[in-house]
């Protein structure tokens, strides 16, 4: 077909770049109306707060797209609809989190006082003050032990996988096994450590380091995975630049690759620690339970915060006043708040460290 026979393209019609739009306040307006309208059936039928929110949400998701369809057309309606859904999903995800944080702070804060963080549960008379000092020490020491075991192993394994074993059969197997390890239930890790220590040191062995071993089993795959990803991000250009300067491979890894990836690796390690610091089941098995403060991870039992929360909740004791909160429950809430604060602090530390070690751009 030649160009001459093609119909001439009409050019005379003006092109419109503007179209009708809802006012900027339309979503807020519809939201207010939806909440108000939803209040009517909810009040009449005596439903609760959640039902009100649900009805209001559905009304909003129907009304705004309908209005938009009339004014803006189908594309505008679809846009309003999806925007609404995405916001709703975001709210649904955040509500439980905020509610949980609020409850823990609300119930835990009254329990925290000067003796709560400095006394252990050990007492010789019933009217003595108790606290979670022993569990705080236990948590920090056992987690530190787990980090000391798993960080070198994890980072070195990741270095092998990325720098040396790339594409080899062994590396593929290790990657597969690490993936499997990521999914190990924590109780299985606890049982492993439990049986290991019983086989070596005899029955009814309970030591803090056993807890560290169990936790490191859960931590190593996370450290390997995050370190692997970070090492993969280091451009091959940098390795080649280093080799071309006559730098041996191991020095290239230590002096060029690791420093470049350091920020990400530290963040990954900190997040792995945050992940295991709240483990209960394995520690219940192997670290045991005690009311005394124990600074030696290599002998005697050790209590950690999650285990303390669990046992206090299971055996709360009797409330001083009838109908009041039993003392164990109060301690459990206080312990939960402290645990959340520890995890939050670790996350903050990870962010700060990540920012400090991030490669500088000089801008």
């Amino acid at each position: 077909m030649s160009l001459a026979t093609a119909p001439a393209r009409p050019t005379s019609e003006p092109v419109a770049f503007t179209q009708a739009k809802l006012p900027r306040l339309a979503p807020a307006l519809v939201g207010v109306v939806a909440v108000a309208a939803a209040a009517l059936p909810v009040l009449l039928l005596g439903w609760g707060l959640i039902a009100w929110a649900l009805v209001a949400g559905v009304l909003y998701l129907v009304a705004l797209p309908a209005w938009a369809r009339v004014v803006e057309g189908p594309r505008g309606a679809a846009d309003r609809m999806v925007t609404g859904l995405v916001w709703a999903a975001c709210l649904v995800a955040i509500v439980p989190l905020v509610s949980l944080l609020y409850t823990v702070v609300d119930r835990g804060l009254p329990a925290i006082n000067s003796t709560f963080l400095t006394y252990s549960m050990y007492r010789t008379e019933l009217d003595q003050e108790v606290g979670i000092y022993h569990a705080l020490v236990g948590t920090l020491l056992i987690t530190l032990g787990a980090a000391v075991i798993s960080v070198p192993i994890g980072i070195m394994a990741a270095i092998y996988l990325i720098e040396y074993g790339k594409g080899s059969r062994l590396a593929r197997w290790i990657t597969f096994l690490v993936d499997v390890m990521t999914g190990i239930p924590s109780i299985v890790a606890g049982l492993f450590a439990f049986s290991l220590f019983i086989l070596i040191f005899g029955p009814s062995t309970r030591v803090g380091i056993g807890g560290s071993v169990a936790l490191s089993l859960l931590m190593i795959p996370v450290v390997v995975r995050s370190t692997e990803e970070m090492l993969r991000l280091v451009p091959a250009d940098l390795r080649e630049a280093s080799y071309a300067l006559g730098v041996p491979k191991w020095r290239t890894i230590v002096k060029v690759v690791l420093p470049t990836a350091l920020g990400g690796i530290v963040t990954g390690v900190t997040l792995a620690i945050a992940r295991v610091v709240g483990e209960t089941a394995p520690l219940l098995l192997i670290a045991g339970l005690t009311t005394r403060t124990n600074f030696n991870v290599f002998s005697e039992r050790m209590t950690t915060l999650p285990v303390l929360i669990y046992t206090q909740n299971a055996n709360p004791g009797i409330a001083e006043t009838p109908g009041g909160t039993p003392p164990g429950i109060e301690i459990a809430w206080g312990g939960a708040l402290v645990l959340i604060l520890i995890v939050m602090m670790l996350n903050l530390v990870a962010r700060v460290i990540g920012a400090i070690f991030a490669p500088k751009t000089g801008h």
Binding site: L245, G246, V256, T260, K360
Partner: protein, 259 residues
């Protein structure tokens, strides 16, 4: 402190794939040798085989001879790390180390090899190398700023400074100007002219005017045919290559009659 390189019957493989076949040439000391040719014909591969960077890629290997100063680079007793200390390389894309300052980047070759040196000595090397790379005046007031903060052309000259700071015998350059603007390119070309008096320089380039401007001798690489390995078609003095090449294919490529 410059060496000549003699290459004899060099075949370069990636696994089972023969990438470059049967290269013979002698690269003269204290001169600039340029390699031209279409993309994918093995220029860079050949360049990387001159300082054993080729084998960094898994499965890559080489058959044949590369002799520097009477020693074969591919002898089993040769340490590739020792080779790379004598034969430095500048890459297509500037790649300063992102965790290091300008100062540390220049010293990287020395520091990473844990050479102990006094502060004055280190300062001296940094100044000499940066002056050698025509970068000193632009960065002397901000030596402790990150190397990544420089412009692309400055970064590339920083990489050249880093390469000459370890005082190699030979400097290999793999399309060092392909990512740079004409002003930075001309700065680097001037630099190549200056470096020629001390170093043996081998440069791969896609820019034929550049090859004509900077080099004393030129090698033209081409594929034998589609799917066949690359080969060295002609190796001659640059003057002859651009005025009156022996080979028809070279003339076709240089005059632009051939893709």
């Amino acid at each position: 402190m410059a060496k000549s390189i003699t290459v004899g019957d060099l075949d370069i493989y990636y696994g089972d794939f023969l990438a470059v076949q049967g290269v013979n040439m002698t690269i003269k000391a204290r001169s600039v040798t340029a390699f031209i040719g279409p993309s994918g014909c093995g220029k860079s591969t050949f360049l990387r085989s001159l300082n054993r960077m080729h084998e960094v890629i898994p499965g890559a290997r080489v058959e044949g001879k590369v002799m520097v100063d009477g020693q074969s680079l591919y002898d089993s007793a040769v340490d590739p790390v020792a080779v790379r200390r004598q034969i430095g390389m500048v890459f297509q894309r500037p790649n300063p180390f992102p965790t290091m300052s300008i100062y540390e980047n220049v010293l990287a070759g020395n520091r990473l090899n844990s050479k102990r040196m006094k502060k004055a000595e280190a300062d001296d090397i940094v100044e000499r190398s940066l002056k050698g790379a025509n970068l000193w005046n632009e960065v002397k007031d901000r030596l402790n700023k990150p190397g990544m903060g420089l412009s692309g052309g400055q970064q590339q000259r920083l990489c050249i400074a880093r390469a000459i700071a370890v005082e190699p015998q030979v400097l290999l350059m793999d399309e060092p100007c392909s990512a740079l603007d004409p002003i930075s390119t001309s700065a680097i070309e001037d630099l190549i002219h200056e470096l020629k008096s001390d170093y043996t320089i081998v440069i791969v380039t896609h820019n034929m005017q550049q090859a004509a401007r900077v080099s004393d001798e030129t090698g033209f690489f081409n594929l034998k045919a589609a799917g066949q390995p690359g080969q060295l078609v002609e190796f001659n003095s640059t003057q002859k290559m651009f005025a009156n090449p022996d080979n028809e294919a070279t003339e076709a490529y240089i005059s632009g009659r051939f893709g």
